[in-house]
């Protein structure tokens, strides 16, 4: 469980990035944090594994104050996948890249071997085991970065802009993967601009603007509320837009799922003709 209690944060340059943020993320929850650039999304999630410490207020991860423990210790439970894989890849082979964190956490060689195989398999990277990560394509590098975090099986996973630079197929794989993680009771926190991705996953949504959380609730509720979304410079997903633009048909207004939309529209059409 992650508890954020009235957190304020300002960067050394003086920029006030968070102003009085309070929220609780339960174990096993899937949360998407959305908002315009500079709203404080990444700053907020960097508090969850101790990379940043609040200037005022408290962040508790499983009841432990993040100012009291090291980043390395927190990272064992909270995995953080950065937006740009190039800010972490440095090893000669994909295998070494994944082993890096496991070695840092002091796992035995035999365990490391097993974990690497498991992580490579999970993200269909097995054929690249001995390849240099720098030889891979952008999407593959992103998967290697993800694999290198998943390898130690953290309880909570933070994904910063996971869908950027991914083609549709990879995005779909990512969605399935996230859903699979949810069935294993993992907590997933994704920072993203991708409304369509969020609409497909249907998580809890936190909207941020100028360092504050301005809305918090189910995706079906928040992504279908154009006024609130406009405050965070977000356009509703396409399905929601269709339902919002058809007031005459007496359709429900909180639809974001493609299959649900299909079902409702079919019914409405049958009634009409």
């Amino acid at each position: 469980m992650i508890e954020v209690k009235d957190v304020y944060f300002s960067y050394p340059s003086g920029v006030q990035a968070l102003t009085g943020v309070s929220l609780t993320i339960q174990d096993g929850e899937f949360v998407a944090i959305m908002g315009q650039n500079g709203a404080g999304k990444t700053t907020l999630v960097k508090h969850f594994n101790g990379l940043l410490k609040p200037t005022k207020g408290k962040v508790l991860v499983d009841g432990v104050d993040t100012t009291r423990v090291s980043i390395a210790k927190l990272s064992r439970d909270v995995g953080f996948v950065f937006q740009n894989p190039d800010s972490q890849l440095f090893s000669e082979t994909v295998e070494d890249e994944i082993a890096f964190a496991l070695k840092n956490f002091g796992y035995d060689a035999s365990v490391i071997e097993k974990r690497i195989t498991w992580a490579l398999n999970l993200l269909s990277l097995t054929q690249y085991r001995k390849t240099s990560p720098f030889m891979l394509s952008g999407g593959e590098r992103k998967r290697v970065a993800l694999a290198s975090i998943l390898a130690w099986d953290p309880k909570t996973l933070i994904l910063d802009e996971p869908t950027i630079g991914q083609d549709y197929e990879q995005k779909e794989k990512l969605r399935q993967f996230v859903m699979q993680m949810r069935t294993q009771q993992k907590t997933i926190i994704a920072v993203t601009h991708d409304v369509e991705f969020v609409a497909e996953c249907n998580p809890r949504v936190l909207l941020m603007r100028e360092g504050k959380v301005i809305a918090d609730g189910a995706a079906t509720k928040i992504l279908t509320d154009p006024e609130t979304l406009a405050h965070a410079s977000i356009v509703p997903p396409q399905i929601a837009q269709i339902f919002l633009e058809l007031p005459g048909l007496n359709l429900p207004k909180d639809v974001i799922d493609v299959y649900e939309a299909e079902r409702i529209l079919k019914k409405a059409l049958e009634k009409q003709y």
Partner: protein, 262 residues
């Protein structure tokens, strides 16, 4: 990173910022030469103090102090190595003269950092490039130089995010013995170098697609001209230089220790 922030330009309007960068650079070089001419403590203290009014006039004292603090580690290193060898050379004795010479050597380094820091804090990269260009340095070199200067803060930011990413994978930079600590930086340096190379290739492509180097003779929107303040600085520079050379040649310089004891 604090050493870098001491060299980072911040836009402020002050008489020092308005000075012609060419003259400012000549001034810095003059200070550099004088600092090399002297190894005695007293003249170096004077040299150090001469520059304080510049800092105050330019209103960059906060950044300046930060860069001084960044240089403090190296200064301490210079002091201790010199002091150690003097100490050994004197037969395991601490002599006041030795301490003074060592302090002098250290202060010489501080003066050099100080003058360059004042120069970079008060000169925008654009201005600097302009100055180089109008002293007939080939434009390719000028461009390479200004780009390098401009990318220092970008790289510093990048280094920060790389450090964050590796810390999130359990890297503890401050852990282990001396050798281990140096090796800890490999996972930071490799991504930093790789991304710098990638960035430079991208920049080259972007420039090429905007017709970089299409005309041989470039013109500038702004042309540097000398003003009253610039002539004043020229006078000050020549004055300091002449005085310094005169003192060096004809005036015996007492040790601070003797000056204080007698």
């Amino acid at each position: 990173m604090s050493v870098f922030s001491g060299l980072k330009f911040r836009k402020v309007y002050s008489p020092i910022h308005d000075l012609d960068p060419r003259i400012k650079f000549t001034y810095v070089c003059a200070i550099f030469v004088i600092a090399i001419l002297y190894s005695e403590l007293i003249p170096l203290i004077v040299l150090f103090l001469i520059q304080v009014p510049f800092v105050l006039l330019a209103r960059v004292q906060r950044e300046w102090i930060r860069s001084m603090r960044g240089a403090a580690y190296l200064a301490a290193l210079i002091f201790f190595t010199n002091f150690l060898f003097k100490f050994l050379g004197a037969g395991y004795k601490v002599l006041p003269y030795d301490v003074e010479t060592t302090l002098g050597l250290t202060l010489r380094f501080v003066v050099l950092v100080e003058s360059f820091s004042v120069f970079f804090l008060t000169t925008s990269p654009d201005h600097l490039g302009l100055a180089l260009e109008q002293t007939r340095v080939p434009y390719e070199f000028v461009f390479a130089f200004t780009t390098a200067v401009r990318f220092v803060p970008v790289l510093a930011e990048e280094a920060q995010s790389i450090m964050d990413a590796q810390k999130a994978r359990g890297l503890e930079l401050e852990k282990g013995n001396f050798l281990k600590r140096i090796r800890n930086y490999i996972p930071i340096l490799i991504p930093l170098i790789v991304s710098a190379i990638r960035r430079s290739l991208e920049l080259a492509e972007a420039m090429e697609s905007r017709a970089w180097g299409a005309t041989k003779k470039r013109t500038n929107l702004y042309v540097l001209k000398m003003h009253k303040g610039d002539f004043a600085l020229v006078a000050i520079t020549i004055g300091i230089l002449v005085a310094a050379i005169y003192v060096r040649l004809y005036v015996p310089i007492p040790m601070l220790y003797d000056a204080l004891t007698f």
